[in-house]
């Protein structure tokens, strides 16, 4: 396989580009949620200091800010690659949709990054240089900057999953924005933002709970740990409930605009009305099933009507399976969704008409150009399918999406229960006496990361093969770079990020063991 990746430019370039983007994105996402989550908790702690003027609260805020700083640096370091990778590794994409996609990235920089980078310096170094009010504002503005940044990058990501507010221009050979509000306020973007940010607050909460639980188990820093765990439990409980609510609406939107992703994450081969939601089933995690010939999965435990309710908000709603999506089906409103073969044919008409249109324009043949323009417009909806060779290419990796969905939802449900119990206990009992809960609190930390990374695996693997849903498959979006070059940078980043992650964990562990510095 490796030989093939190095020798075959088409396969190798696409696969290494995807691998590199996945690597850098997953590393980046180890640090960003903690930045977003800790920002809330240290902001609350500093607000307590501002209101009470008690040195204790300043120490609490200062302690979490130190840990925030170590994590923040890694988030920044891993983030820069992501933005530029759209150009370095996905240059066709950058032109084909850059007119729409570039705008949120630029706005993110102008509005969010500068706010974050300006006020984070005041937050770290300004304790003795600016007034308490200015410092408190800087702490919240750092968090706000990170959150606004999340908004714009998620607008960009949501647009790839649900491209709206654009039109193809055959003269410039690209998609162009026609409605900024459709792009910036797409329901998919709003939901993605709410779900991602609330799930990041969970990460902040589990981190603070785990560190505080460690102190309480060691019977040290008890006052700081108890105060912190109180804030974290409350934030965690609210965030996990909100994440469940927004997760539910995410699934509903996926059902509407990415039915293949929904079918893959449910491993639903043949759909229908009144579909059950699979709680768990035996889907081989190592093998992509052949949906055309294999039967539905065995050992299935399901919730009756659950999937129909989730995807259509009706107990008896129709949910298409993978085979229905490939073969075409009649929707509930009576219209017919074409088969993938039909879409491929119409997509090729659009691509070929575009080629003919360009030639006619160059030859000043307005009649032929006009004829082809009509064909382009009539079939543009299926443009991306013109590049698909086989029907199977549009099926995402079923085991990966199926299991990542269950990991995310399962752990998300656990967080609701965990934070509900924790919140009850921290307000009613002495948490330091509940050693079993403190041990669970420490174990919850890796679960938080597994859940949040699983969410992204589901979101991104579930939309394969599309870089932009139905518009541009991955193999049409890449740069003309030899796979060996991308493989080299892949391993460079893998080595560097892993090394830096090890250093970061080592620093965090030492800082936590050392504990807060009181009265500074």
């Amino acid at each position: 396989m490796f030989n093939q990746l190095f020798l075959d430019i088409s396969v190798g370039t696409v696969d290494w580009s995807r691998a590199q983007f996945a690597l850098t994105a997953m590393y980046h996402w180890l640090f960003v949620p903690l930045t977003l989550g800790l920002a809330i908790i240290m902001g609350i702690a500093e607000t307590c200091y501002y209101r009470t003027k008690q040195q204790f609260w300043k120490d609490v805020a200062h302690f979490w800010q130190k840990l925030f700083g170590v994590n923040f640096a890694m988030g920044v370091a891993t983030g820069i690659i992501l933005e530029f990778q759209f150009g370095t590794n996905w240059s066709n994409y950058s032109w084909f949709v850059g007119d729409i996609f570039g705008a949120p990235l630029a706005i993110e920089g102008i509005i969010a990054f500068f706010m974050e980078s300006t006020f984070v310096a005041v937050m770290f170094f300004g304790w003795k240089k600016v007034s308490p009010g200015f410092h408190l504002a800087s702490t919240w503005l750092t968090g706000l900057g990170a959150t606004i940044s999340a908004w714009w990058i998620l607008v960009a990501n949501a647009w790839m999953q649900y491209p709206v507010g654009c039109e193809f221009n055959p003269d410039t050979m690209r998609n162009e924005m026609v409605s900024f509000t459709d792009v910036a306020l797409s329901p998919f973007a709003i939901d993605k933002f709410c779900h991602t940010v609330t799930s990041s607050w969970i990460i902040g909460a589990v981190f603070v709970v785990a560190v505080s639980a460690y102190y309480l188990l060691k019977r040290r820093e008890e006052k700081l740990a108890k105060a912190s765990i109180k804030i974290a439990a409350t934030v965690g409980f609210i965030a996990s409930v909100l994440a469940a609510v927004t997760g539910d609406s995410s699934a509903y939107l996926v059902g509407k605009v990415q039915p293949m992703k929904l079918a893959a994450m449910e491993a639903l081969y043949n759909g229908g009305k009144s579909q059950s939601l699979t709680a768990v089933a035996w889907v081989n995690p190592l093998k992509q099933p052949n949906c055309r010939t294999e039967k539905e999965h065995s050992l299935c435990v399901s919730v009756p009507y659950g999937l129909s309710l989730l995807a259509t908000r009706s107990l008896h709603g129709y949910v298409p399976g993978i085979n229905n999506l490939i073969d075409g089906y009649v929707k509930e409103d009576g219209t017919r969704e074409p088969s993938v073969k039909e879409k491929m044919v119409r997509g090729r008409w659009a691509v070929n008409a575009l080629m003919a249109y360009r030639k006619a324009k160059q030859a000043d043949d307005t009649v032929t150009a006009e004829q082809n323009l009509k064909i382009i417009r009539a079939n543009m909806k299926y443009f991306g399918y013109g590049y698909v060779d086989k029907e199977e290419q549009i099926i995402p990796n079923i085991p990966l999406t199926f299991w990542s969905f269950r990991l995310m939802v399962g752990l998300g449900s656990f967080f609701i229960l965990f934070f509900a119990v924790l919140t009850f206990i921290v307000y009613r009992k002495d948490i330091s006496q509940q050693r079993w809960l403190l041990i669970i609190g420490i174990c919850t930390l890796p679960m938080g990361y597994i859940a949040t990374e699983s969410g992204w695996v589901l979101a991104e693997m579930g939309r394969q093969p599309w870089t932009i849903q139905d518009m541009l498959p991955t193999w049409m979006a890449v740069s003309d770079v030899h796979p060996a070059s991308i493989a080299t940078t892949f391993f460079l980043f893998l080595g560097l990020f892993t090394l830096l992650l090890v250093v970061e964990i080592s620093i965090l562990v030492k800082q936590i063991k050392k504990g807060p510095e009181y009265g500074k």
């Binding site: 920044v76 950058s94 706010m115």
Partner: protein, 380 residues
């Protein structure tokens, strides 16, 4: 607002971001002088802490420069980043190692040791100005790429922009003029870094070393810059016909640009004078610490004028040496009128952003950095 105006406006904005980025490379410049300015561990820590309070601005400006280019001139983003893959990857790699170096180097638990991260800062300090300067020089000297938007309908080779050789951008470093500007930006960054340290650090010994560095690095910069400026003013440039879009070579195009846009020439002369004044006064007057501001304004304006000369007045700003008609102009590579208009509304936030940056910067820099402050704990 006409489409033509929007394209010129956005070229101005990305040029301004590029100019601010070159100024903010003072962080990198000062980092290459860590061991020249600081002879003891504490002195080196002071220098690093001084640049450490500004590195995020340089980093963010680079990211916004990229994002601004992506939104306003997506074909450049697609062609340059996808084509000159290795050139950009090396630049980015150096910024990755820089980003963690401040925070990690003096923390307990740093298993790589302080010196490793100081070396990371120095590596970034060398690579970033040298390669970014070299990349800017390609705006005048051209690069080896081919653009054919029609490729999007080709199933076998769909990529619209390709590098014409397998170096993926490293060939830019074989052009002596790219190296001259790269070296000029490198020495400029070191001079600006020295100006900044003089302004920001309360240490006579570090400041006297920095003044010597101002003289040395400014002198080398001025020689290299004047050689490069003379070269581009006399060389053939890449002009395009705004009606047909056809690109041709025009003798002394950049000199013509300056003469046609005489107001840019005046600003260029004033900004060079500002820079010279800052250098001379800083070197001669031991008590003068404000050189970074005059030099900074001068550098921002000089770079801005150079970039405007590269893109305005019907000039191809990213020329192709292998296929002249593939060259990028602000007309053939920009975003749509709708996007440029929408982004122009967003650009109204920029003065507000600059305002709060200035405010926060002033709050942090009211007092110069002292050794006591570094040892007190609120430091890298």
């Amino acid at each position: 607002m006409s489409y033509d105006f929007l394209q010129h406006y956005w070229w101005f904005l990305v040029s301004l971001l590029g100019a601010l980025l070159v100024f903010l490379l003072f962080v990198q410049g000062a980092n290459t002088l860590i061991f020249n300015l600081g002879k003891t561990d504490n002195e080196r820590r002071i220098v690093i802490n001084s640049t450490g309070r500004k590195w995020e601005f340089t980093f963010t400006t680079l990211v916004v420069f990229g994002g601004g280019f992506f939104a306003s001139f997506p074909l450049f983003y697609s062609t340059s980043f996808g084509g000159a893959y290795w050139l950009w990857m090396i630049i980015l790699f150096s910024f990755v190692i820089q980003a963690v170096s401040y925070e990690f180097q003096n923390k307990i638990g740093n298993i790589l040791g302080t010196k490793t991260f100081q070396i990371f800062l120095i590596i970034n300090g060398f690579i970033a100005p040298l390669l970014l300067g070299g990349a800017v020089a390609t705006f005048f000297n051209g690069s080896n790429f081919i653009v054919d938007k029609g490729n999007i309908t080709e199933f076998a080779q769909p990529v619209i922009s390709r590098w014409a050789n397998c170096s993926h951008g490293l060939d830019a470093l074989l052009d002596i003029w790219n190296l001259v500007l790269g070296a000029a930006v490198f020495f400029l960054a070191r001079a600006l870094g020295s100006f900044y340290i003089i302004n920001n650090v309360a240490s006579n010994i570090i400041n006297s070393r920095a003044r010597r560095q101002v003289l040395l690095n400014s002198a080398i910069f001025l020689v290299l810059f004047l050689v490069f400026l003379t070269h581009i003013l006399l060389k053939d440039g890449y002009a395009y016909d705004p009606r047909t879009g056809i690109i041709t070579m025009e003798p002394m195009k950049y000199l013509h640009n300056l003469l046609d846009m005489w107001y840019l020439l005046i600003v260029l002369l004033i900004s060079v004078a500002l820079l010279l004044y800052a250098i001379i006064r800083t070197v001669r007057d031991e008590s003068y610490t404000k050189g970074i501001w005059l030099a900074g304004v001068g550098v921002v304006l000089v770079v801005l004028i150079l970039l405007l000369c590269a893109g305005w007045n019907n000039t191809a700003y990213y020329p192709s040496n292998v296929d002249l008609q593939s060259s990028l102009t602000i007309a053939n590579s920009s975003g749509s009128k709708f996007t440029l208009t929408a982004m122009s509304v967003v650009s109204l936030f920029i003065p507000f952003v600059l305002g709060y940056i200035f405010w926060a910067w002033r709050a942090i820099d009211k007092k110069q950095i002292t050794e006591e402050e570094i040892l007190d704990g609120e430091a890298y």
